[in-house]
Symmetry: C2
Subunit: 197 residues, 2 copies
């Protein structure tokens, strides 16, 4: 009632959406991921830095290279998902800032000449974008299965040998399969999560 977003969209993105643990065989196309990207790319990052990079793991060879770095409990579903995406931060994101901030190209050197500043700001903003991406997967009518349980150093070495990208999250993507969802767990109440001062 107090939301502008209609009920159908609320359900699609949040109220009825669940993390999927199994997937159907229906493939996920590049066009679907492109549509997700073209939607969520507009969501905000600091200075429009847009540091998130997405690696779509499609080939059987790449999938086996990924699965071996997943924690044991995440291996079967990552082996079986129609598509898996590695979400990462590009720690050299500042090299693109002059294109992303054409009116303020000096921001690159003003704020991001130090690797530590890039790591802090880039990781934070790429993580915001990971949140947008999960919403975007659902906007495509697909289920997401985000996983933090993997060997980050192993994945980084395996897929980003040169060290400028760091993995943040691995996301299985597809239509939900049989028994895809676990029961909804409780959430914190508004009064537990929100304080007014």
């Amino acid at each position: 009632m107090t939301l502008a977003l209609d009920r159908t969209a609320q359900e699609l993105l949040f109220l009825e959406a669940h993390t999927a643990h199994t997937f159907s065989d229906e493939p996920v196309s590049d066009e679907q991921i492109r549509a997700v990207y073209e939607l969520v790319k507009y969501a905000p990052t600091a200075f429009n830095q847009s540091p998130l990079r997405i690696t779509l793991v499609r080939s059987a060879e790449a999938r086996s290279r990924l699965v071996k770095h997943m924690s044991e409990g995440n291996r079967p579903k990552t082996s079986a998902a129609p598509l898996t995406a590695i979400l990462s931060v590009d720690l050299e994101f500042h090299e693109r800032l002059p294109e992303l901030q054409p009116l303020a190209p000096a921001l690159k050197d003003k704020f991001f000449s130090e690797a530590e500043a890039r790591e802090t700001s880039g990781t934070f903003n790429a993580t915001l974008q990971a949140g947008y991406f999960i919403v975007g997967v659902r906007a495509a009518g697909l289920a997401a299965g985000p996983m933090s349980g993997f060997d980050k150093h192993g994945v980084d070495k395996e897929f980003f040998g040169d060290g400028t990208q760091k993995s943040l999250l691995v996301v299985n993507i597809g239509r939900p399969g049989e028994d895809a969802y676990r029961p909804r767990q409780p959430r914190l109440s508004y009064d537990d999560a929100v304080t007014t001062v």
Copy 2:
């Protein structure tokens, strides 16, 4: 076309949504923020840990305590916004895990007995939730003005004296005012952001 989300919702949340730099005088009610929270609380976090906390800065006294820690360029808009929220991570989020994971209360001690593990996982997951929250503000028909430009240690000491909460992002919230939006800046192309392996 390849999205399940209808065009109106796409525009509301992403395509036509912009970061606002000025706001109208129309107040933002607790009911609106409650509706945002009740929507986005369902979006996923690892182990349902739900570490994000939201501090609504409503009183003139609290606002002045916040504004002094904002970077100079962010002070006028933070002074003028109808409502400002401090988004933070609760580094003691694991104390709530037995409620949030009633079927697996042992997760609390298995994964989160160490402060460093809580800081890494909590910060990452609260940042995902910050992304969901920005989408949720837009779902309420409101404009968000997220800002990283503030003295984090200053805000933490000022608002979270005991050290268990760490600020992540400050978000102005309201209806857009005059000249609220800057021109849309370029985004990375799909081929620049997405790689297939």
